[in-house]
């Protein structure tokens, strides 16, 4: 019992085709769609699928990165490389109000920082560009409340999600009708698992941020997590010290809020092997999820992705 196996990969074609279908449905049905680009592995897969969906044309859908100004430096460098390729438009939005108020995860805590710089920032950008469809990389296997999310998830004019009045979805026939001011969030990789994502990255040779691979990095043990010291804004508390450890990241976010895991997995094969053996879930490293139970559901109702 509880034996662990890597799955076969025959089903990746089916997942890929389903996702491409969703991208095309968005392009054909909405006036001004956008893809929310978070720079992580799921975003890398989304970007790859976006390019495939519209090949040989360039993507008619731009990318939007909501920059909290606390992302890992390697993430920003990776994003800028993507933008430099020039085949997909990359928009960057920063919540300037939050920046002026000096909102920081170190002084204001995870909840306030995420709300102001990420949730509010996202709403500002959606309103500013009048996007009516925002594509995201959320997967249903990530978290309990996401298990019930639709592929096309309706949001009212205030960007709110109402879990009790979701539109039922049948086959791959999605209802894309909205009124002015309303919008949808669309999740093309809803049916992918974390394992699918990595196996697809390996099969398709998709570039990802190097932080996913193990390397000696400067970290501090804080509140049960290993936090990487990525720039000079990070100040040590009494008794803390920076040590160099062999670590990697399973998910990427704001560096003071993202826990590293000790690992020696330096290649995709090793990451996949490690996952097969792994005894903890993907979002464990996220400080933001460790609020009271079902916190993600509350954040989603408020407009968090």
């Amino acid at each position: 019992m509880n034996a662990r196996f890597a799955p076969r990969t025959d089903h990746l074609d089916e997942l890929e085709a389903e996702s491409i279908h969703i991208f095309r449905e968005v392009a054909a049905s909405f006036r001004r769609p956008v893809m929310l680009y978070s720079i992580g592995k799921d975003s890398s897969v989304l970007l790859h699928l976006l390019r495939k969906a519209f090949y040989p044309a360039k993507s008619p859908i731009p990318l939007l990165h909501v920059d909290t100004t606390w992302k890992f430096r390697e993430m920003i460098a990776f994003r800028d490389q993507v933008a430099a390729q020039g085949d997909v438009e990359v928009l960057v939005h920063i919540n300037e109000d939050g920046l002026r108020q000096g909102i920081s995860p170190l002084t204001h805590g995870a909840t306030v920082h995420t709300d102001v710089m990420k949730t509010q920032g996202l709403k500002q950008a959606l309103d500013k560009y009048q996007f009516d469809a925002a594509i995201g990389g959320a997967r249903r296997d990530e978290e309990k409340s996401r298990a019930k999310e639709r592929v096309f998830s309706f949001r009212n004019a205030q960007h709110r999600w109402d879990p009790k009045h979701q539109r039922p979805e049948f086959w791959h026939t999605y209802n894309t009708q909205i009124r002015k001011g309303e919008s949808v969030r669309v999740f093309p990789i809803s049916n992918w698992t974390e394992m699918d994502v990595w196996q697809y990255i390996r099969r398709e040779n998709i570039p990802v941020v190097p932080l996913y691979f193990a390397k000696p990095r400067p970290v501090v043990a804080r509140d049960g997590a290993l936090i990487m010291v990525d720039d000079e804004r990070f100040t040590l508390r009494e008794g803390e010290q920076v040590e160099t450890r062999m670590v990697r990241f399973r998910t990427l976010g704001c560096y003071p809020l993202t826990g590293a895991v000790e690992s020696t997995a330096g290649t995709l094969d090793e990451i996949i092997d490690e996952m097969v053996e792994s005894r903890s879930s993907e979002r464990q490293g996220r400080v933001i999820d460790h609020d009271p139970t079902a916190s993600m559901e509350r954040k989603k109702q408020e407009g968090y992705f």
């Binding site: 019992m1 509880n2 034996a3 196996f5 890597a6 799955p7 076969r8 025959d10 089903h11 074609d13 089916e14 997942l15 890929e16 085709a17 491409i20 279908h21 095309r24 449905e25 392009a27 054909a28 390019r51 495939k52 969906a53 519209f54 090949y55 040989p56 044309a57 360039k58 249903r140 296997d141 309990k144 409340s145 298990a147 019930k148 879990p163 009790k164 979701q166 539109r167 039922p168 979805e169 049948f170 086959w171 791959h172 026939t173 209802n175 009708q177 909205i178 009124r179 809803s190 049916n191 698992t193 394992m195 699918d196 792994s278 005894r279 903890s280 879930s281 464990q284 079902a294 559901e297």
Partner: protein, 626 residues
């Protein structure tokens, strides 16, 4: 890209059972046995199990692994479809965990629509329940042809084989009557994992495969459509050198050089390229997302179906179909909804409900409307022809959703059965003397003036004055009065929502004919629903329909009460009276908005006439749309 192998791909299945059958526990146990529960989740599970079952023996409550939303946890029931993912060494699975609660039939239909197989749970103590029959019926309706019956809680009936045999025999009989081709049965004890991932020592008389083994070996594509079909999703046209049609193949295979037809039309072409990122393909099959290029320029667009030219899809605009109603407001025959099938969206009306189906007994019942979670067998008419397939052959080209045009809610899913030939035999007859010719000979531009408002608002009085004035000016007019029409063409209709919809549809069609005859038609009818006024408007050409909202407050109408109807309605002698116990939906942007307070009917009629004259006196010009 490799072709998808029938038996190795994803298996999509649903789990269904009644409240307390132990469905969440079984699914949680399945995930646990497949090694899908990470340590941190397991720790949370142990903590939650202790918290919720303080009195219990410390066993794990596997149901907690799969119950998601806060509200559901509080109520202790599953109220929405939850999607789960797991894999074994042999294959990957997507599970739609479907709620057993009575009022959530729609969620089961959602889960079943994409599933290849259903796991139906039966509580050994209770045997088959009405819900078991209902779940099986919905599975069958949505095209699931293989079922695994898990008879759960065997420990609570002393692991008695006779109990198991009785239940499985009854189920096989049920499945046969509902057209489920393949049924596998097994006894389980979900909390202990008996026969879930490992064989049970407590049930030695069962020698068959475990649940996991059954799922690993199930055929993921029981009904594969054979003829090549691809709905066009998006036209890919980056520059003059490339024009391709992007879509997902929903039936058969296509190869380079094949001749295809773009339906519902008859244009033919050969496939020149099957483009996918990373290199063209020689051929592609069902489930693949591709971009097809033709050997010649064709006018194809989103919603068209590219099909095998030798075996094209049938084309029609009227169908017999099953509909599962999901809207909070009832389905009203003859109301216009958007129908989306494949990638095509058209206007549709349910022309008649042949019968509704009792989901528990499958008895056929007479029905005038369908309420939430009811299933009906209906005829549907579209305003355009479409290429389709019977749902039993092709889910994509036979399955549709209906969307409410006011709220945008998804109000139904439907499964096409066959085309009615009526429309195909009634062709539009071309006539040389048309509306503009007739109108010109009368020296006017024909149009429809539609007065809407509460009973007693003054619609007929004002319409009558306007007609007199137009007549005096030499125009050719006709006044269709809602009350008068009910003595003749609409004699058979009452005041239920269904009849009101049909009443307005008929008045609209008559008005449309009269406008076609060149007349200026004035209609005076309460016409309480936005949706039907909109449908009537769409019968007419741009600018030809003038909505006049006679806006008199309810209190004022009730005080006038010229026919004594409000008094009767208040006394309960008349039911379904607009404004009292039936709704009036105000126009959002009428061409003419008459606020009647403080004005005489003559003044109001003059307001209407003034706005009208400039529309109608110009003679029709050459490019007048017909």
């Amino acid at each position: 890209m490799a072709a998808l192998d029938a038996n190795q791909g994803l298996l999509r299945f649903i789990t269904c059972g009644s409240v307390d059958d132990g469905k969440s526990t079984l699914l949680g146990r399945l995930l646990y046995d497949a090694g899908m529960v990470p340590d941190d989740q397991l720790a949370a599970l142990e903590r939650d199990s202790r918290k919720l079952h303080a009195e219990a023996d410390g066993g794990l409550d596997f149901a907690l692994l799969t119950d998601g939303l806060d509200a559901e946890r509080e109520q202790g029931i599953t109220i929405d479809v939850a999607w789960r993912y797991f894999h074994t060494a042999r294959r990957s699975f997507i599970v739609a965990d479907c709620p057993g609660h009575e009022q959530y039939t729609r969620n089961m239909a959602t889960g079943a629509s994409n599933a290849d197989l259903a796991v139906v749970l039966v509580d050994a103590r209770k045997g088959l329940l009405p819900q078991t029959r209902r779940h099986t019926y919905i599975c069958s309706l949505l095209g699931i042809r293989q079922v695994v019956v898990a008879v759960n809680k065997m420990d609570l009936v002393g692991c008695d084989e006779a109990v198991y045999r009785g239940i499985t025999e009854a189920y096989r009989e049920l499945a046969r009557t509902l057209g489920i081709a393949k049924v596998d049965c097994l006894p389980v004890i979900a909390p202990g994992g008996d026969n879930v991932g490992t064989r049970s020592a407590r049930l030695p008389w069962y020698q068959g495969p475990t649940l996991l083994e059954l799922l690993e070996s199930a055929d993921a594509t029981p009904a594969r459509a054979e003829d090549f079909r691809m709905p066009v999703q998006w036209v890919n046209r980056p520059d003059q050198s490339f024009r391709g049609y992007a879509g997902t193949i929903c039936g058969g295979r296509v190869s380079r050089g094949d001749e295809v037809v773009v339906q519902p039309g008859v244009q033919r072409a050969r496939i020149e390229r099957i483009a996918v990122a990373g290199g063209d393909l020689e051929s592609a099959g069902e489930g693949q997302a591709v971009t097809l290029c033709f050997d010649r320029e064709l006018d194809a667009s989103r919603g068209d179906v590219i099909a095998d030219a030798l075996r094209p899809a049938p084309v029609a605009d009227q169908f017999a179909c099953h509909i599962v109603w999901l809207g909070d407001n009832a389905l009203l025959p003859n109301r216009t909804y958007w129908l989306k099938i494949g990638t095509r969206t058209v206007n549709a009306r349910v022309m008649s409900i042949k019968h509704k189906v009792d989901v528990n007994t499958q008895a056929k019942l007479a029905a005038r409307h369908l309420s939430l979670n009811e299933v009906g067998y209906c005829t549907v008419g579209l305003d355009e022809t479409i290429a389709f397939e019977p749902y039993a052959t092709n889910r994509t080209l036979g399955g549709f959703i209906l969307v409410d045009r006011q709220s945008n809610a998804t109000v139904a899913c439907g499964m096409l059965d066959f085309a009615l030939t009526r429309a195909a035999n009634v062709h539009w007859q071309h006539v040389d003397v048309d509306k503009s010719v007739r109108g010109a000979s009368m020296g006017q531009r024909p149009l429809c003036l539609w007065f809407t408002g509460l009973s007693g608002a003054g619609k007929s009085t004002i319409a009558n004055l306007v007609e007199k004035r137009l007549h005096a000016l030499g125009h050719h007019t006709y006044l269709l009065d809602g009350d008068n029409v009910r003595h003749g063409i609409n004699k058979d209709l009452g005041f239920t929502p269904e009849d009101r919809v049909e009443n307005i549809r008929r008045i609209g069609e008559v008005a449309h004919l009269m406008v076609d005859a060149g007349l200026i038609v004035l209609v005076s009818a309460i016409s309480p629903y936005r949706s039907e006024r909109r449908s009537v408007r769409e019968l007419f050409d741009e600018g030809e329909f003038v909505e006049v909202f006679v806006d008199t407050p309810l209190a004022e109408c009730e005080q006038r009460d010229p026919k004594g109807l409000y008094r009767k309605a208040r006394a309960g002698e008349i039911r379904n009276f607009t404004g009292i116990d039936a709704p009036y939906e105000q126009p959002e942007s009428p061409e003419v908005h008459l606020q009647t307070a403080g004005l005489r009917a003559e003044q109001l009629a003059e307001q209407v006439t003034a706005q009208l004259l400039e529309r109608i006196v110009e003679p029709a010009d050459d490019d007048y749309p017909v």
